[in-house]
Amino acid sequence: MATMARDGWIALGESAVCQRVVYDLDWDLSNLDAMHVAQSPTGAFIGMARDDRKPYFTPGGAKSLHFPLCIYSATGQLLRSIPWDREPASILKLGWTDNDQLVAVLDDASVRLYPVYGDPVVLSLGEEVAKNGIASARIWPTGLAVLTKSGQFTVIGSWSSPVPRNYLHYVFTEQPASWTHVVASNTISGSVELLVPVANYLVVVSEMDHVEKPYSSLQTVQVSPQANFWACVLSSFMLEIRLAQTNQVVARLDLKSVVECDSNGFQLAWCGEDAVLVVFAESLIIMHMSGQHFAIDLFEPVILTEAHECCFQLTSTELTMFTPVLYATMNVFKIGSTHPGAILIDAIAHYSRKSAQSVDLLEGLLKDQQLRIALATCLEAAGQAWDPKLQHQLLQAVQFGRVWMDQDVTLRDEYSATCQRLRVLNAVRNRSIGIPLTALALQRLGYVGLVRRLTRARQHLLAHRLAEYLHLAHAKVEIVADWAKLKIMHSQDFDVNVLVATIVARVQASTATVDAALDYSELAVAAYRAGQPAVATKLLDHERDPARQVPLLMDMSQPQVALVKALDSFDRDLVHLVLVYLRSHLLLNEFFKTVLACPRAIPYLEQYARDHDRQLLRDFYSVDDRHVERGYLHMENAERAETVEAKLAELREAVTAFSSTRKSAADQKIAEQALDLVHEQAQIAKDHCDAGASTASLELPEGKSVNDMILYLIRTGQMTRAAKLKSKLQVPEKRYAWLMVRGLVAARDWRELERYAAATRKPVIGYPPFARELIAVGATDEAKKYINKCDIKLRIDLFLGIRAYVEAAQVAVQLSDMPGLVEIRKQTTAPADVAVVDDLLTQLRRK
């Protein structure tokens, strides 16, 4: 077993790297070096296009002038061919995203993302890049960077929000020969960083900043997958592995001493975090972290693709994989290993030969209490093994050893989990599926991630079976959704009802156990795009979330249905969205007709229009004969109007609106009065201007109400004008009297106030307001005159309010109010007052 397990091992000191041909390739291609080739991070897909900058000789001749953009499976099956003969731009670089989309950077500064199946997404790198042209580009699973011919970087940091960021603050005067990137999650700056060797520097460029580190002259740098190490090739062809943090050299190899070096075009790639691969024209060198190296001769051009935990090597005939041999496998199978795991394997070998030594070995393990370790190690090695036969044998060894041990729950669970994992791995590694997935890659991807990948590769049946086997309910929903979309696309001639029924039945069968419902709107979008609006509408009826339904219904030109659905959701913003859409797509009268047909929508329209489009609201009220409402709207507009003319116009509109029904007669009158008031105000302002300098010291009327206006007129002595306004606006006598008092007091015109008080035998509001207003402005002496005219019962309090104790006491005496007088005496403090009050007190006592 051990010799079989060591097949393809390249020993590098204490460690080893395994070189394994994974698949023979079915394609018929010979000259890969004239192509752009890119393999996806899991190795499952290979993108290929002609490199226009390289000469291409075909045996066939003319037909290959326009080579299409192709997507192959890892076994070399052509999955998709995208014609390129009519494309205006040529491809500069190919790469893959972490969710299996082929990325093509074109020389017109656009980027296209092709899913394995389905329509591409086109992104632009911006005008700057287009203007300056792209010199070089790098694509990695989470983003890309381009260096323009003007020497600036532009970076897309994530595919989820693919916004190009221009790193403007550093400009390279000369095009660097090579550069590399560090993904944002591995940098301190939090942005993608670029490492560029320039002369004796290494320039580290981040979005906000740059650092120039002195460095012995470098040709190429490659950052390890987890960014712990840098692999560097110096100009002297010295290969170095350095610690990224401290720049300390971990291992070093003079490449010139091993192979013939050729500075144009060598490839440098990491194999996990353990070893580095360098490919020259005729040889491949592996250098391990320990400094041990190994050279392999090459007979044809190869292309290296660095994955997270391994490295793929592609030739025109086969796909090879380099993987570091992991500890468990190493311990079990290393020649001369004395690890318990190795002993267990030894024991089982003896057992199969019916040798008694097997018992001795097992008892030895038991005695040293190492059987548990041996079992765990073998189990782990089984999980890492590629060959199903080897997996089987290792698992058998574990079964054999377990008999000797007490029940161990952890081990049992681990055993069944490993079996499950291996079944999945073997299924996808099978040539018919063709995903060269390592155990570590599966761990990183997760089962759900794997199932998604299978779905994207349209392996629906396997995906569904895996989801079933692994109890991934939510993933199952996704698979069914994807299947349904495909079904819709390829069923143009089906009966709509039958199609929808088939889909719904299948969906319900798959989602019966899950509470998360399927996103029917997504299916509807697919149906609509596939030119099946009827299917889309039918599918949308099954959608539960209106926020998903409504925008789609609008896109599908069914705004009426969208409006009803939005109203059903009670979500105001959704209703407003539909209304805005309708408004911009319909003529005004059609728009109103649509809204009026749906009375529930009217309050929403009113509300939206009130805040955002008042003209629309005005028109709506007119159309709907809601004149009173329109009147109020005009009143509101008048208040907001900035010029007198606009104000007058709005008020006139209000008067007309109110005049349309008798019900609003009172409001009409108010609007008319408002009109009169504004006229009057305008007139006064005009007079004011005409009067010029003499009255310039008088401020213009402030405030907006009739009260304010009359007050102003009285305060400035324009009595006739005030009286005119009073009669015109039918101000009641009582309020006018109040305003008179307030105005005259504010003007401190005591004589006029007296005249006004005397004009009638008794003012309609009585004398207390006179007194109170005067007290409020501190004119106590004036106030006293009016207090004496007030009702005698009020006088004491009023006098006390202005600390006129003597007067208050006198009133108390008149009223014979003994308790009141005593109270007044208590409050009196001034000695002169005290004497008088005391006098009055004795006077009253005597009475």
């Binding site: 003007s150 020497g151 600036q152 960021r165 221009n166 403007l168 603050h169 550093y170 400009v171 005067t173 700056s189 939090g190 942005s191 320039v198 979005e207 906000m208 509470d515 998360a516 539960r544 979330d545 926020a547 409504v550 925008p551 009670f570 979500d571 105001r572 913003d573 959704l574 407003h576 969205l577 805005v580 309050p603 509300q607 805040d611 955002h612 109020y632 009143m635 509101e636 008048a638 208040e639 907001r640 009172a666 108010i670 609007a671 009065q673 408002a674 008031l677 405030g703 907006k704 109400s705 009739v706 009260n707 304010d708 101000v731 009582k734 309020r735 109040w738 305003l739 307030r742 509001i765």
Partner: protein, 579 residues
């Protein structure tokens, strides 16, 4: 256990805010919609904001601030189209000036070229959720690629450990039931609360608004199919207070400390403006959690605030005096470490509360205020409105909010005839401006200004059945919720009292006298937390009343309000705004 819901909310909200402030790199600028500043500062102080690398903080306004030196600009706003349009303008401006700045320098060469204009990144956080409309506006403005739009899911603002507010202007939206959006918003907020504290097992309430809320809430709960949250601490019960059943209380003058401070000093998101000691006024945070003095004062009838403050000042003096008594080093050390920080906090807060109490006292000494107060009490007790007073107040241009509130109260009690109301309308618009015709119309629509056609005994019956007028209130040791309005027991709180401990008599009276339909879900029982949800806003005095109910009935009660209201804010909300 009492504090779990509060802390869960605070923690979630702070996490959200933290996430928001962590977006972007480099120098950050934060631009906040002014109406949200209270909410933000309630959750995070300036140190918290600085910790996250925010170097510039400004309020959103039509003037574009120069933020070109910042790498990331983070906007926080409500999902309001007008606000979003304003932000779009800002971003366009910033992009244009960045283009101008980078244009000439981009051709400069040389490896050591100096940094040119920064490439800025923009983030928009929508409270509580971004909407499709917001995205559409940005898309139409071709800014969707430039601005990273995200949600800032702060649904409920925790004001006190037992008081959460949506801070959503809802009174006018809900009361006339024109805008179901407020209900929608409230339902989502309550769903968010449910996922933090566990589901509500029983609901009680009454009224059309409570009913439609319940319908919407149930519907949304079904549609969202949240994974059932883990509930470890017993049951949660919900009481729905429908504001349309009790519009009277919010229009009354509150008489608790917080209520009066709110009326005269306007509490916004738990902050009140206080004298900054010669400088410009500063915001003071009212929080029972960090302020022991406020904790004592908050629910007191204002009549006992003065003596309480005196007592607290004396105690504080005595405590500080103890420092002199501490002779040995250990004593002094103990004093400094145990008592001093607490004392310093008190010494800081005491003068502020004294200042607040003084300004409230000054305001309530006002003669007109007392006339209005008297009129309110007469109105409630004897169903009569002093018409002359209203006329006189209008002649003197007394605060229009107070006048309107009094007229509305009269209408709600049912003692204003149509002729009188028409007359007042004319007088009011002449006195305060013709644009108040619109204000009047809005209040009519809200059902606050309806004339009584035929005399009814509705209010008198209700008053009698639910003991709404309490003659002798003990303000020092309150035993009845009527202490909060000095004699009037808020109807809303009486309903809460009933649902907490229903009797056959009140049940009959309520179903006879108040509009339905009743909302009854589940078995209410007597165990577990109670959440009292005020649909359409709550006053601080009502919160105090509910707190008293919780204390006397031994229930763990939390108030959730759509907003905090008082008569001023309600009336001002109906007036034409000039924005």
């Amino acid at each position: 256990m009492k504090l779990t819901a509060f802390y869960a909310l605070v923690r979630d909200a702070r996490d959200q805010l933290s996430h928001c402030l962590e977006s972007g790199t480099g120098r950050k600028a934060l631009v906040i919609d002014k109406s949200l500043s209270g909410i933000i500062s309630r959750l995070a102080d300036s140190a918290f904001i600085k910790e996250h690398g925010v170097e510039r903080l400004s309020y959103l306004s039509p003037q574009v601030p120069d933020l070109s030196d910042c790498h990331s600009v983070i906007y926080i706003a409500r999902s309001d189209p007008n606000v979003v349009k304003l932000i779009a303008q800002h971003v366009h401006g910033a992009l244009a000036s960045a283009r101008d700045a980078s244009g000439p320098t981009s051709s400069s060469s040389g490896v050591h070229s100096p940094p040119v204009a920064v490439s800025q990144r923009f983030f928009l956080f929508c409270l509580p959720r971004s909407t499709l409309l917001v995205k559409k506006i940005l898309e139409d403005d071709s800014l969707l690629a430039e601005i990273d739009v995200q949600d800032l899911e702060i649904d409920l603002l925790p004001l006190e450990h037992d008081l959460f507010s949506m801070e959503y202007p809802s009174f006018h939206a809900l009361a006339p039931m024109r805008d179901s959006h407020a209900l929608y918003q409230l339902s989502s907020s309550l769903l968010a609360l449910e996922s933090a504290i566990g589901p509500f097992t029983a609901v009680r309430g009454r009224g059309p608004l409570a009913d439609s809320f319940m319908t919407m809430f149930t519907k949304m709960r079904a549609a969202h199919s949240h994974p059932s949250p883990v509930d470890l601490t017993g049951t949660n019960r919900l009481i729905l207070v429908d504001r349309t059943l009790d519009m009277i209380t919010p229009l009354m003058t509150q008489f608790t400390y917080t209520g009066l401070v709110d009326t005269f000093k306007d509490i916004v998101a738990g902050f009140v403006e206080v004298d900054g000691g010669g400088q410009r006024p500063r915001k003071f945070k009212l929080s029972m959690d960090d302020d022991n003095i406020y904790c004592e004062l908050a629910d007191l009838n204002f009549g006992v605030v003065g003596p309480t403050l005196q007592r607290l000042a004396k105690e504080l003096k005595a405590e500080s005096g103890k420092r002199k008594e501490a002779n040995t080093l250990t004593d002094i050390n103990k004093f400094v470490s145990d008592k001093l920080p607490e004392l310093q906090k008190l010494q800081e807060a005491l003068p502020i509360h004294i200042g607040l109490a003084e300004s409230v006292a000054k305001a309530i000494m006002d003669e007109d205020f007392n006339l209005v107060l008297q009129a309110q009490q007469v109105l409630l007790a004897s169903t009569e409105l002093d018409a002359d007073l209203i006329d006189e107040l209008m002649c003197r241009n007394y605060e229009p909010e107070a006048v309107l509130a009094l007229i509305c109260l009269g209408c709600l009690i049912g003692c204003v005839k149509e002729k009188q109301l028409d007359l007042w309308k004319r007088e009011f618009v002449q006195s305060y401006g013709f644009h108040h015709l619109v204000t009047w119309h809005r209040l009519e629509q809200a059902g606050l200004l309806t004339a009584t056609k035929t005399p009814t005994r509705q209010w008198a019956n209700l008053r009698k059945a639910l003991d709404l007028i309490v003659e002798d209130v003990r303000v020092e040791q309150p035993d009845d919720i009527a202490y909060t309005f000095t004699g009037y027991a808020p109807l809303s709180a009486r309903l809460v009292q009933h649902w907490l401990r229903p009797t056959a008599r009140t049940r009959d009276d309520i179903s006879r006298l108040l509009p339905g339909p009743p909302v009854e879900v589940g078995d209410f029982g007597t165990a577990g937390r109670v959440f009292v949800l005020f649909l359409g806003g709550a006053t601080y005095a009502e919160v105090s009343a509910v707190r008293l109910l919780g204390r006397t009935m031994g229930a763990d009660v939390t108030v959730v309000a759509t907003e905090m209201v008082n008569y001023r804010r309600i009336m001002a909300g109906a007036m034409v705004s000039l924005t």
